[in-house]
Every structure is written in structure tokens, then in C-alpha cells.
């Protein structure tokens, strides 16, 4: 029998080893697998490379993971926000390596990794410093930059519903990088609000087919980063 459900967040993040490349879904406060990230903090893996659109807010979730000093390298598109002091300080103190990738290029590099594509040419970054040192090619009169896939050891993703095969639905704009990160990792771990019976998801509504998913944990009442951040502000 195929059953990708796990009983605990501890089981969900088991085996994430030192030095692992870990993809984490989310854009702003939407779609962050905050409960899985805190399980990873408790689990203790270090020397990590973490990939996310941003780089955490205040002192919760990804920012809390960065604050432990266990992330060697952060790959993201846009680390700045009103409360991104953790990554900003680590960067200024030279305590973390930072790689900035344009958002569409990050998405496509993840997709390429999941789809078995060895690289692709994109016009994005042509004529900019982010193309420095990269192979370029002119195709039909337009210039392109060669970008490589971004495979990972683990993906931590938040979705809405899962069945025991790992079929996933998402909630609104919380989908963002989820489906791509599920494809790109060797081991994909998903937290969902709700487990549902096999056969109860409309096949036309499944966004990530279960083949891209390895473990699913149910977190019915996930950490709301916005609420936590407000409470942290009060506490400080």
C-alpha cells in the first residue's frame, strides 16, 4: 500500500543531513511551510543551503532558521522586507553567502531540475550584472543567458489538502513555488491543512500529482507568521 502520510513533523523532516540543499516554498507570508521549518530547527541539521523567494521575516520560520547560524548559503530573489533584519545583519556581517536569482529564472531552474532538463536559455539578465560570467547565445537575433537546473536534496512545501498518495491541492496565492519545489527535490516533504481520503480529490483539481511528493504531514492549524510576528513585537 502506498501511504505517504507521516504522524509527526519530526518524522517529516527526518534525514535532512548536514550540508543539504533545502527548498522552502512561500512568497511573503503566503505558503511558507513554517511548521516544517521549525521542525528542521529542532532537528538540528547545519551547513545548509536554503532556497526561498525571500529570506524570512522578523524572527519566525525561515528567519528563525537563519538566526541559528545553520544556513551556510541563502539563494533567493528578494531578501528585503520591512522586517528582514536577520538576513540583512547576517549579510552585512559576512556570516552568510547570498545568491540573488531573478524570480522567473529561479522558477524555471526548479522546473528544469524536476523535469530532467539540463539547462535553458533565458533573456532575463541580459545586459545586467547578474549575467556576468555566464554563457550567452544569440537565437533568432535575440540574446539569451544559459541557466542551469536547481536540484535539491529536500523540499519543504505547504499545501492545502493531500491524500495518502501525496496528491496536492493548494490555497490561492500560497501555491507560488510549491509545485515546482515538489518536482525539484530528491525528497519532498509537504505540510497540509487537511488529509483527505484517496479518491476524494477531484482529479481535475489536483495541482501536484503525488509522484512528486514523498512525505505529507497534517498541520490543521499551521503557524501564522503574521500573528507570531505581532506577538514577538509585543514581547520585545
Amino acid at each position: 500500500m502506498i501511504d505517504k502520510r507521516v504522524d509527526s513533523l519530526e518524522q517529516a523532516v527526518a534525514g535532512i543531513c548536514d550540508g543539504a540543499v533545502v527548498l522552502t516554498g512561500g512568497f511573503g507570508h503566503a505558503g511558507n511551510p513554517t511548521d516544517l521549518i521549525h521542525a528542521l530547527i529542532d532537528q538540528g541539521a547545519k551547513d545548509l543551503t536554503v532556497v526561498n523567494n525571500n529570506a524570512g521575516n522578523a524572527h519566525i520560520g525561515l528567519a528563525a532558521l537563519l538566526e541559528t547560524g545553520r544556513v551556510r548559503k541563502m539563494i533567493c530573489t528578494y531578501p528585503r522586507s520591512t522586517d528582514s533584519e536577520v538576513i540583512t545583519n547576517l549579510y552585512r556581517e559576512n556570516k552568510i553567502e547570498l545568491e540573488i536569482v531573478p524570480q522567473g529564472t529561479l522558477a524555471e531552474r526548479l522546473r528544469a531540475a524536476g523535469a530532467g532538463i539540463g539547462g535553458f536559455y533565458t533573456p532575463t539578465t541580459i545586459g545586467t550584472p547578474l549575467a556576468d560570467g555566464k554563457e550567452t547565445r544569440t537565437i533568432d537575433g535575440r540574446d539569451y543567458v544559459l541557466e542551469y537546473p536547481m536540484p535539491a536534496d529536500f523540499a519543504l512545501v505547504k499545501a492545502e489538502c493531500a491524500d495518502r498518495w501525496g496528491n496536492l491541492t493548494y490555497n490561492k496565492a500560497a501555491r507560488n513555488f510549491g509545485p515546482l519545489m515538489c518536482m525539484a527535490a530528491r525528497v519532498t516533504v509537504v505540510q497540509v491543512r487537511k488529509f483527505v481520503e484517496l479518491g476524494s480529490l477531484d482529479p481535475e483539481q489536483v495541482v501536484t500529482p503525488g509522484i512528486f511528493v514523498d512525505r505529507v504531514a497534517e498541520v490543521a492549524d499551521p503557524i501564522d507568521e503574521r500573528v507570531e510576528i505581532e506577538q514577538q513585537k509585543v514581547a520585545r
Binding site: G28, E108, P123, T124, T125, K172, A173, N176, F177, D224
Partner: protein
């Protein structure tokens, strides 16, 4: 007496209003973070315009009423929004396929600098202490069919933001179609910057004095006329 070119100049809402009037019925439009978000408030009501948000929303609606926010339905600036009838969600590869694949008609962006040939610099001032971040700016700049830039005509220190060549790191080359500033509407033509509209009382020379690249007046130029939006 030389009147300062910024006397009686447009405020941000008026710049947004002016840019919004140039978005045609049926257009798919991406509004960049910051000042361009204001454009959504002034889209002409008699036109059906689809707003795209880079984080995976097509058919984005206005902010919800207080108390009805859903923080899994947010725009690129991470503020809560709504979804219009007909709206849909997409993952990031599809959302950026819409952008990079030329399916977005217009993107409205802010700028640090725009060059006479339409080069855009709006992601980094190269300050040594500033943490870099590009987000979707480079994809949007080169992927949208037309890029509208909304900007003050000069920096706070009075330096021109429209220049011969950008000195800040580029976002994209030759991508800007039109510039909506607080004193003029300027198109990027093959031969340089062309003033399509200017504030009443400003001569071309007044605008040239605060512009870092040669400008010329369009043959069919008009007065830049906007409603009072305090």
C-alpha cells in the same frame, strides 16, 4: 524669473492617474511594487483590464474590506487583495511564462534611472552596505510588451533620473516605452526621448534643464492635464 520646473508638478496619485489613462481596454497589466500599485486605483471604469501579480494571480482585484483579509491571497507587495470573477492562480513557472513569454501587455514600474535608449535601472543602487534583491523586475522589464515607468523627474537631490546612460546596475536594456514623471509624459523613440505631454507653463527648455539626455517635443504634443487628486 525662472520658475522651478517642479512648481505645480504632479503628486504620485496624479502620475498614477495619468499612466492609467494609457492602459487600453482588454490589456493584461502588471503593476510593480511601490508607486505603480497606485495605478490600480485609477483604471478607467469603462475598460476591462486584467491585472497580473507576479506571485501567481491573474485577474487580481482591489484590497478587501477591513476584517476580510486573506493572507494567502496577496499581491507582489505582500498586501492582501481579492480575486475578480474570471481570476485564476498559477505557480511561479507559469506566472513567469506569462511575463517572459510576452503575454503581459504592459508593466508599470518605478525607476532609479532611465536612459535615452530605454535602458532601465531600478533594482540596485550598488550601495556597498545594501542587501541586493531583484525579485521579478528583470523578467518583467524585458518580458512585458511595453514598460511604463512612473517616476519623479529628478532625485530628491535634484539630479536627473532620465539620463544619457544609466550609472546604476541595469535591470534591462532598451525596455522602457514611456515615462510618466511629475512634469511630463515622455516616450522613448528610436532617436531618443520625445516629450508627448508637458505641464502647462513649462517650456521644453525647462524640462531639458532637469533631464540628463537630449529631449525633443513631439509634433502633436499636448498639455499634461490631470484631475486634482489630493
Amino acid at each position: 524669473m525662472n520658475a522651478s520646473p517642479t512648481n505645480g508638478s504632479l503628486n504620485r496619485r496624479q502620475i498614477a492617474w495619468r499612466a492609467a489613462q494609457d492602459i487600453p481596454d482588454g490589456a493584461c497589466v502588471n503593476l510593480g511594487i511601490g508607486m505603480p500599485v497606485l495605478v490600480g486605483n485609477y483604471l478607467p471604469l469603462d475598460r476591462e483590464i486584467i491585472l497580473h501579480s507576479e506571485n501567481g494571480i491573474l485577474g487580481m482585484g482591489p484590497a478587501p474590506a477591513s476584517g476580510e483579509e486573506d493572507y494567502e491571497l496577496i499581491n507582489a507587495s505582500k498586501g492582501p487583495v481579492t480575486l475578480l470573477d474570471g481570476g485564476s492562480f498559477a505557480h511561479q513557472a507559469d506566472s513567469f511564462a506569462m511575463i517572459r513569454g510576452g503575454h503581459i501587455d504592459i508593466c508599470v514600474m518605478g525607476a532609479f534611472q532611465v536612459s535615452a535608449s530605454g535602458d532601465l535601472a531600478n533594482w540596485s543602487t550598488d550601495a556597498p552596505d545594501a542587501i541586493p534583491g531583484v525579485g521579478g523586475a528583470m523578467d518583467l522589464a524585458l518580458g512585458a510588451r511595453r514598460v511604463f515607468v512612473m517616476t519623479e523627474h529628478t532625485t530628491r537631490g535634484g539630479e536627473p533620473k532620465l539620463v544619457e546612460h544609466c550609472t546604476y546596475p541595469l535591470t534591462g536594456t532598451g525596455v522602457v516605452s514611456s515615462i510618466y514623471s511629475n512634469i511630463a509624459v515622455i516616450d522613448v523613440a528610436d532617436d531618443g526621448l520625445v516629450v508627448r505631454e508637458k505641464l502647462n507653463g513649462l517650456e521644453l527648455d525647462d524640462i531639458q534643464r532637469v533631464t540628463g539626455a537630449p529631449i525633443r517635443l513631439a509634433n502633436d504634443w499636448q498639455t499634461l492635464d490631470v484631475p486634482n487628486l489630493a
